[in-house]
């Protein structure tokens, strides 16, 4: 029998409900896995074991009293270190927030607590969610559990790696241009970025406010639906939060796709004349075949303005970031340069920010500051906003014909550590298929759809209409039922650079 932490949340939910396992036992198994793999994986920045034990015990006690508990009560949870957690340090992967202990919980953290999820730790990420490999963290690199020499993707790399290695059961991430979907793809797990506004951003350290969205990273599609049930809903503290009530997403999990129209996006398969990796393309086309077999009508569709998504994104996101990150000045919280080093407050600001931010964050602050400057605003920020409107229109048109759009999540499988750190453009292109979805504010999902010859997972991306999460879940679930990709685990004991890493999760 597999260890408890190798199970999915819904499997655990059933065991816990039948009292065949306790939340304490599940937590212990998860912590044992963390102890086993964390030295080599480095998925976590902070472990909250004592707090977790208290939460798990509380769930067990409530169950013993015969209380009716929420579906995911007692299930271990890892949080990307971008979510503010009351009394628990929140760094956003940045030196400038080292030591910052928020006095409040993010809305989603409150929701997870209310649902009895057990917080095991805060996971590593690219600094301020800026990156696609988790190599931009100020606190070290996270490794891909399928191959320790490869990146887990980013920016929610810690969350994806932990879920894939079963050192958590479920995890939360954020996605501004692909930061949930791309690492989920690289690590062979499921990641869903819902419609912009479906989940509250309150208490989520902002990167690019008009694009940021919270979502779950899970081992399978059903877990993803269960997590969305926990996270989605209106929050009056977020003015961009959608008022419409959230449905029960598990009702979308049916095993056929009769009548569904599925469109393969040409621009996802080929960006400015360069095609995605051969094995990635093959796996995606195979998935489309599978959709067809499940009863869907499949076709191909072109969204020409997607070719501008990278430049548009790298104007809008840095512009918003340059403003959002202005508050990190050493005055109120986080890092401040030693006083003797600064003659006046301007120098204090400069040195604090120079010491506190890493190179990629600085690069984007400069890009954004430039794009918003007097005389350049119209040519850059405004123009980019207009093109963003065209991208949205392309999606609207495509959705007149199709119910969901598909393509690869990323043009490649997980690349090697250090492979793209010197070439920011190559790194940015890793998100070429995911960025347009944030531009449209649409729901997007990644799930495993195959493996490369060298054993790395390949992600399939599904894109839905605004508030079309149910269609995504339905298609994803039906597809998943016909494959065993989600059951395959990074299962072997691998020797890499003399490091021995157990990332075992038995094949089912």
């Amino acid at each position: 029998m597999s260890a408890l932490n190798d199970l999915t949340a819904h499997e655990l939910s059933e065991l816990l409900g039948k009292r065949e396992a306790s939340a304490r036992e599940v937590l212990e198994a998860t912590c044992a896995r963390i102890d086993e793999v964390e030295d080599n994986l480095a998925a976590y920045l902070l472990l909250t074991r004592e707090e977790a034990e208290r939460q798990a015990s509380a769930v067990d006690e409530r169950r013993a009293r015969g209380e009716d508990l929420p579906a995911l009560a007692g299930v271990p949870l890892a949080l990307k270190d971008i979510f503010c957690t009351k009394g628990i340090e929140t760094t956003c992967g940045s030196r400038i927030l080292k030591g910052f202990v928020p006095p409040y919980d993010a809305d989603v953290v409150e929701r997870c607590r209310e649902n009895g999820l057990v917080l095991v730790g805060k996971t590593n990420m690219d600094e301020f969610a800026m990156g696609s490999s988790t190599e931009n963290s100020a606190f070290g690199v996270t490794h891909n559990p399928w191959d320790l020499e490869r990146v887990p993707g980013g920016s929610s790399g810690g969350s994806a790696a932990a879920a894939a290695a079963s050192s958590t059961i479920v995890a939360l991430g954020t996605d501004t241009g692909g930061s949930i979907r791309q690492p989920a793809s690289f690590c062979g797990v499921v990641g869903l970025k819902p419609t912009y506004g479906r989940i509250s951003r309150y208490g989520v350290v902002a990167f690019a406010s008009s694009l940021d969205q919270v979502g779950a990273i899970t081992k399978d599609v059903r877990d993803c639906a269960l997590m969305l049930n926990v996270l989605a809903g209106h929050d009056p503290r977020d003015s961009t939060s959608i008022a419409a009530p959230a449905p029960d997403y598990t009702r979308a999990l049916v095993s056929e796709l009769a009548g569904m129209r599925v469109g393969l996006v040409k621009e996802f398969m080929e960006y400015q004349g360069v095609g995605v990796d051969r094995e990635v393309g093959a796996a995606v086309r195979g998935a489309v075949e599978r959709f067809h077999e499940l009863g869907a009508e499949c076709g191909e569709v072109s969204l020409p303005h997607l070719n501008y998504s990278i430049p548009v994104y790298y104007l809008i996101a840095p512009a918003e970031a340059s403003s959002n990150l202005a508050r990190y000045d050493g005055v109120q919280y986080g890092y401040r340069t030693p006083e003797e080093g600064a003659a006046d407050i301007i120098e204090m600001y400069r040195k604090t920010r120079d010491d506190g931010f890493g190179p990629e964050v600085k690069r984007r602050i400069m890009l954004g500051t430039y794009a918003l400057s007097a005389g350049y605003y119209d040519a850059y920020y405004l123009k980019a906003s207009q093109v963003r409107g065209l991208i949205r229109r392309d999606f609207d048109r495509a959705f007149e014909q199709y119910d969901i759009l598909v393509g690869p999540t990323s043009p490649t499988v997980a690349f090697r550590l250090g492979e793209k750190t010197e070439d920011p453009i190559a790194m940015y292109l890793s998100d070429v298929c995911t960025i347009p979805v944030n531009m449209g504010g649409l729901p997007g999902m990644s799930l495993p759809c195959g493996f490369s010859p060298d054993g790395m997972p390949i992600g399939l991306q599904l894109v839905g209409r605004s508030l079309g999460e149910e269609a995504l879940l339905r298609a994803a679930y039906a597809f998943e039922q016909t494959t065993d990709f989600h059951r395959r685990r990074a299962h072997s004991v691998r020797e890499r650079n003399g490091r021995r890493c157990v990332v075992a999760r038995a094949s089912a």
Partner: protein, 479 residues
Amino acid sequence: MAKYRPNIGLEVHAELNTRTKVFCGCPTAVGAQPNTQVCPVCLGFPGVLPVLNRRVVEFALRAALAMNCEIVRPSIFERKGYYYPDLPKNFQISQKRAPLGRKGHLEVTVNGETKRVGIYDVHIEEDAAKLLHPEDDRGHSLVDFNRSGVPLLEIVSDPDMNSAAEAEAYMNAVRDMLLYLGISECRMEQGQLRFEASVSLRPEGESELGTRVEIKNLNSFRAVIGAVGYEIWRQSQALDSGEELVQETRLWDDERGATEPMRTKETAMDYRYFPEPDLTPLEVDDEWIGRIRAELPELAEARRRRLTEQHGLSDYDAGILTGDKVLADLFKATAAEGAPAKAAANWLTGEFLRLLKEGGLAAEQTRLEPKGLAELIGLVEKGAINAPAAKQVFGKLFERGGSPSEIVKELGLAQISDEGEIAGVVDGVIEEHPDAVENFHKGKEQALKFLVGQVMRKTRGRANPQLVNELLRKRIGGG
């Protein structure tokens, strides 16, 4: 001096008196201990988001509509970026490209003439924290975030004013308006009204405006008037000597009574405005606008005009009455209770203001009610009490309110109009003062006055003086 024509524009920043801040639920009350009215939102902590206070929009709409502005739909909040320790996010949420209101006007009166000043825009923004610089030798400053996020209304005028006097009249009109609308306390000593001015000079007859100089750090009417006057003088001196003026921002020094350079156009701040992505565009529907328009009170200027034209009050009385919203409201309500306007105005501009001054009180601190005042005026008109008694009753109404007729009873002030009762007193007085009667017979009218006085004294002022006169004349003849 008449060689140049000044053009003056004013920006007024007014703190709105909503109970809570503009983007969070913290209270706005002044006088609290530093940093006690704060939360993660107004401290600009990571991850927090602004939520617009609807009441602030309501207040701003009142002002925009009162100034005849067109309402911009939707209006957009933007971020204005600059680094300063009183600004916790290092950007201020404000409005720029789509302010709540624009293209309005306000009428002001200077030397009896009405002038229309254009309103360029009216918009909502958040106040910054307050910096305190303790005078010890530790060389540090303190930040009080209680003020951070207090709602501000910024009213930007067109450069339509041509003298310091017009600027003063405009500021008065804006303050009166804010007070009449009940949306700001306008306490300048607490920084609730702050100003920025722009001054340019052009040769008389020239239509194009001259080089614009902006002046900051104006925290009182006096400072604005001083700074505007100084700038007009400085710029005309410069132009006279053939100097070219530079477009710049200058700082007013209250102590020196002069402006000094702060920055020029070349070193101007770049605020990098862009739409605030955490707030949705502000949609104000017709129904909302209609409701607010219907509820708008009459403003000082309009009310002053109505008082002179309809009620026949003097400019002077009308000016006094409308100069204080509470006073103006009292007048309006007293007249509505049926009191003649003239009498109501006399009481309010006379005895009422005298008592306020004597007690060092503000109008809203008294207990005088319009109904009571109207009744009192009625009693006097009917002859139920005489003037000195009426003053006594007014004093009581001022102190504790209540019903004038009760007070009259309580103090025994009712006028004696019973002929029999007065006749008895009259007879007694005639008997006691034969010499006065004789003098009267000799033609000395003064003597009659003396006798009336004696009757009044004996009745402690309560006798109806007209009746006393009549009876006396009847008794001693010569009537």
